[in-house]
């Protein structure tokens, strides 16, 4: 019985396999035409790979202070050395990289979701809601987010946790997406197919969900990558100023300890080289992916960057 079923489904399965392979080949071909997206994804994948391999090769509990002898330069047992408080810096990087990514992703998702919702309300419905949202966004964008975040973070006693940090950063991350997505909605609203959908009696929420949203998906993706990058930048800024989660080994907190202990002018290079390299790869990767997604969302900029 089961073998018969297998025989019956086998050709089906191999055909699916074939189309999958073909689409994979098409995807790779596209990446060749859009090198920024390809290189960017590759950089981010390298980080993921580093974290995965790291989790297999090191006991991540050693990110805690007093795990090893302090201030050891890199060696076989400690590939990245250890810091002044005796953290195994390899474990710190393996544990901290996903934490920083988590802050960025959470805050970015909050920002784009909030921003897109407000943008659809403002751009599609117009009227007083549009006026209020536009003024709030215009005023809000004049004020550097980091400064407001500093005031908020200072009031949270006992230090922030990683998720609180993401929430705090996400609170301000919607302003920029709201502005850019709103202008996209404004132009999209005038398109013929949207007009047709409205005239044919689709309700407003339906038009937004079925006509506008699918067409804006690549744009929302690019916007999300930008927001994630901005959120990571803001969180690292807060952490370097000493307003981050002190217990967590995030990349920004590592830089904070580097600065706090004057590791650079003491010659403890192994302490600050890895976080700087990881942060650089992270930002350059996100930037390239954003450029690549922009090309998909906005074909007119093709070959410009």
């Amino acid at each position: 019985m089961s073998s018969a079923a297998q025989v019956l489904t086998a050709p089906e399965g191999s055909r699916a396999e074939g189309t999958r392979r073909a689409s994979a080949r098409a995807g790779l071909g596209y990446l060749r035409r859009n090198p920024s997206l390809g290189i960017g994804l590759m950089l981010l994948l390298t980080l993921v790979l580093f974290v995965v391999i790291g989790h297999l090769t090191v006991d991540t509990v050693q990110f805690r202070p007093l795990s090893t002898r302090p201030l050891q330069p890199p060696s076989w047992e400690l590939p990245f050395g250890s810091d002044k408080q005796g953290r195994n810096l390899y474990a710190v990087m393996v544990e901290g990289t996903p934490l920083t990514l988590r802050i960025g992703l959470l805050a970015g998702v909050i920002g784009v979701t909030l921003g897109a919702t407000l943008a659809f309300i403002a751009g599609y419905y117009g009227g007083w809601a549009d006026n209020v949202i536009r003024i709030v966004v215009d005023v809000g964008l004049t004020i550097p987010g980091l400064l407001i975040l500093i005031i908020i973070a200072m009031r949270v006693r006992g230090g922030l946790t990683v998720d609180q940090m993401a929430l705090v950063v996400g609170l301000l991350a919607w302003l920029y997406p709201a502005r850019t997505i709103r202008s996209q909605v404004l132009t999209l609203k005038q398109r013929g197919y949207v007009q047709v959908a409205r005239l044919s009696g689709m309700s407003n929420p339906e038009v937004i969900a079925k006509e506008l949203l699918p067409n804006l998906l690549p744009y929302l993706g690019a916007s999300l990558v930008g927001s994630v990058s901005a959120a990571i930048l803001a969180s690292i800024g807060l952490e370097v100023l000493g307003l981050g989660p002190f217990e967590a080994p995030t990349l920004g907190m590592t830089i904070y300890w580097v600065n706090y202990n004057a590791a650079i002018i003491n010659g403890w290079w192994w302490w600050w080289v890895p976080p700087i390299i990881v942060i650089a790869i992270l930002f350059i990767g996100l930037f390239l992916v954003a450029v690549g997604l922009d090309e998909i969302a906005n074909p007119r900029v093709r070959n410009r960057v």
Binding site: T142, I143, P144, L147, I148, M154, I264, I279, F283
Partner: protein
């Protein structure tokens, strides 16, 4: 320029300032905490000094800072203080007024920021323009990837690397600070030279990172402009390449660059704050960092307010002078 646009724009500026002041006032009070008591307890815990007079001290401070009056009254007084740029006394350095502390730090930041921002804007814009021009030297094209990679990382990260290379390893520049410890700020040639020498690395970390962004923006605008009909027409008329480049392409591509300057100003300021922390540069950013570390709330509040107001002012100024760059802007329904 229509007056109602100017009025609207100035009104917007005051809205920003009012909002900044209000956030500054209400956010810290959201938790319903007593700032003075908290600072005192924190200080006592940190320093381990005498606890006996604590309650009386809190009383005295609360009277002094007017924290015993109703909230709306406090808010009203606070708005008055802010409009006079009076930020109260520092909590940790009590007799010192916050405005004096800021006044001492502000020139450092202003000089560092204006010079680096203008310099990187001008050089980056020129670089971008040349990159888009078919006749410029080849090597310019190879400059773009490294500049763009640098542009993706935060200012202070490059700052750390520069400190290691130029100050620690090769000992060309000083490790930290705005002037040699032991000297006092004064307008003497030797001090100015010393200050300039100390500011090169912080400035370099801002300039090197910003260049790529300006170059990229200008390059994209130049490509668009060069495809416009009036450039083709100028070419057909037989104008010299140089004339087309300087008078047709660059001038028309320049306006979005000026707009972008107003848009990213806030980011530049936030970035520079962190650069100062990394270099222990005696400006606003480092003062802010010290304020955060010692829990000196009034210092932090004052600095944040000053920064927001200055950014608002510069943005207002840039918005108002656009028509001088570009007569196409009319501001009818801005």
């Amino acid at each position: 320029m229509p007056l109602d646009y100017v009025a609207k724009r100035v009104g917007m500026f005051f809205l920003v300032v009012w909002l900044a002041a209000t956030i500054n006032f209400f956010l810290p009070r959201l938790g319903g905490q007593d700032p003075v008591r908290e600072m005192m307890i924190q200080q006592a815990a940190l320093g381990g000094n005498a606890q006996s007079g604590l309650e009386e001290m809190i009383q005295i401070y609360n009277d002094k800072f007017g924290l015993n009056t109703p909230l709306l009254q406090q808010y009203w007084n606070y708005l008055g203080d802010m409009s006079r740029l009076d930020f109260n006394y520092s909590i940790t350095k009590y007799p010192a007024r916050v405005s004096d502390i800021i006044g001492r730090a502000l020139p450092w930041t202003l000089l560092l920021l204006t010079t680096t921002t203008l310099f990187s804007w001008v050089v980056g814009t020129l670089l971008g323009a040349f990159m888009a021009w078919p006749r410029s030297p080849r090597f310019l094209k190879f400059l773009l990837p490294p500049l763009l990679s640098l542009n993706a990382i935060p200012f202070f990260l490059l700052g750390l690397v520069l400190i290691y290379l130029f100050a620690f390893n090769w000992r060309i520049f000083p490790l930290f600070g705005g002037y040699t410890p032991g000297t006092f700020p004064a307008f003497t040639p030797s001090f100015l030279k010393d200050a300039l020498y100390h500011s090169i690395l912080p400035a370099l970390s801002i300039v090197l990172v910003s260049l790529g962004g300006w170059a990229l923006g200008m390059r994209a605008m130049m490509v668009t402009t060069q495809g416009e009909d009036f450039v083709t027409y100028a070419d057909a008329k037989g104008l010299k390449d140089r004339t087309i480049f300087l008078k047709y392409a660059i001038r028309n591509a320049l306006l979005p660059q000026a707009t972008a300057l107003a848009l990213v100003l806030g980011q530049i300021v936030s970035g520079a704050v962190l650069v100062e922390v990394v270099f222990s540069y005696p400006g606003i950013g480092n003062t802010l960092y010290e304020g955060i570390r010692s829990g000196d709330f009034y210092v932090v509040q004052g600095i944040i307010f000053i920064l927001i107001v200055s950014i608002g002012l510069v943005t207002l100024f840039l918005d108002l002078i656009y028509p001088l760059f570009d007569p196409r802007i009319t501001y009818r329904r801005a």
